[in-house]
Structures are given as structure tokens and as C-alpha cells.
Amino acid sequence: MVGRIYDIVGLGFVLGSAFIFYQCVRFLAQADYVAAVIALAAAFTVVRVGVELTRLGIAVGREGQ
């Protein structure tokens, strides 16, 4: 159960990164390239956290079996 929750939260992080990618597009549209690079790094970090949460969820789920 806890593993499933981690999994869902991890998926939420990946989906949530779409907002930061959208912001990145906005910054590129404003020709603010530094901000776009920072937003891109933030998006990658958020996705990475989501993936790590999922891996944690899998480990916890396996532990509970």
C-alpha cells in the first residue's frame, strides 16, 4: 500500500514537470534564455525526484511482501 502511494506520488512529479516545461517554453518565447535553462534544470530535477520516489515505492512494496 505504501509502495503504491510512493508510486502514485512519483507519477505525479513526472506529470507536474509538464508545468515547468511549459514555463520553459514561455521563457524561450520571451527570449530569456538563462531563465529557460534554469527552468529546464528544475524540470529535470523534478522528474528525477519522481523516478527516485517510484524506485523507493518498488523497494518498499517488495519489502512488504
Partner: protein, 272 residues
Amino acid sequence: MNEHEPTATADPITDSSSAGTLSLWALLTAFVGIALWAQLLLVPLLAEFRYTDGRMAALGFYLIPVAILGLGIALKRSALLLMLFPVSLLPALAWLPEPDWAALHQGTTMIWLVSTLTAYFVVCSWRSPGWRPGSGNGGRPLDDDSDLAGVPLGVDYRGFFFSRLGASLFVLLTILYGIYFDREVGELFRLHHGEAEVVAMSFTTMVMFFAWCVFVYMMIIVPGANLEYDRRRLERELRQWTKQWEVRRQVVRVSGWAVASLVVAIAATLWF
């Protein structure tokens, strides 16, 4: 005898066939890579040569990807071909004159470009050119899970993989919506780029598509494909660490009691 001793011997037939596959791979990679480069940069390069006051920096940027492609094929390095070659195209694109940018956006050019890029990645990743089974790690298996053999997988990995794939497609659609359909972003493009609006949109599309490819490969496909391997490795490391820690804890416990008894003995001697 060590059970992990390498037992595989060189098979000339297999070796020769793999060499044949490699040369075919090299030819295909060179062909598709050059096609991709030519679609993007050949016309601007010829234009630079045509004028006497050609920009030297632009010439350098246009030709560097070809050099990287050649080096990657000669050295058979995936990192050069899959990572550095596509990245080296970006500075060259930034130097493209506006008419060339506009030409990229006309008709079905973009579709051809994306198809060629996809074909290039497929051909490049067709096989890992510098690796042979048993050639690394002294012939030992990289993940010795003999003690975990037969343990069933605890998770529905297909569910994991496809849900992440769906999420990454959602991210791609959000990016494309932002660039081409969002009114506010369209207004920003018009405001900050004026007549070069279409050029800026094409540039943004290419940069974001490249970022999305990196995101999917590094954050979804690679971790997703290695989940079970990573989990087992973590388990093995934890087990190893616990064993070491057990000995250390024993040493600390015994030392602690020894010091405590010494202190008590000294205190008792001094007291009495």
C-alpha cells in the same frame, strides 16, 4: 576452480559476422548522419562559401558536426554519436541566417527532418559497437544474482513503464500546445521576436524536442529498464553493508564494555 572463470572462447564465425554487421552499421550511421546534417546545414554552408566575406565562425560551427560524426564512427563511440553529434548541431542552428530558418519551416521540411533524426537515433542505437558479451568485467556476470534466482518479480513493471511513457507523452503534448496553440505564448513570441516569430517558434520547437528526448531517455527509459537490476543491487549492497556493520558493532560493543570495566576497576581501586 572459480565458478566465474570465463568459459567463452573466440568464435571466428561469430566474430566475422559481427564485424560485417559493424561495417554495415557504420555505413548506415554515416549515411543517415550525413543526410541529417545536409538537410540542416548544407545549403547555408554552400552560401557561406559563395560569398567572399563568409563568416569563419559559422563555417566552423557548420563543419564541426561532420567531424564529430566521423570521429564517432571511427572510434565506435556511442557517446559521440548519440549525444555529442546532435548537440553539436544546435550551435550551428543558432548561426543559421533567417531565410534558412524560414526555409526549414516551410512545407514538409520539418517532417522530413524529424523522420531523419529518428532514423539516425534508431540506426545509431541499433547495436552498441564497442561491446562484446563476456569482454568486460573479466568475463564475470555484471549482476551475480545466483542467490536470488527464482525469486519472482514483485512489481508489475509493464504498468510502471507504460504509465511513465504516457506521462512523458503528456509532457510532449503540453510543450507543443505551449508553442503552437497557447494564445499567451503566441503573443509573447510576436512581442519579443517581431517578424522572426516563425523562426523563434521553430528554434523553440527543436530545443524543446531535444530536451524532451533527453528527458525520456535519461529519466524514463534508462531507470525504467534497470529497475529490477537496481533493486537487486541495492539489496546486495545493503546485505554487504549490514554484514560489515555487524562486525563493527561487535567491536564497538566489546570495546565499550572493556573501557567501562576498566573505568569501573580504576574507580574502584582509587575508591578503596
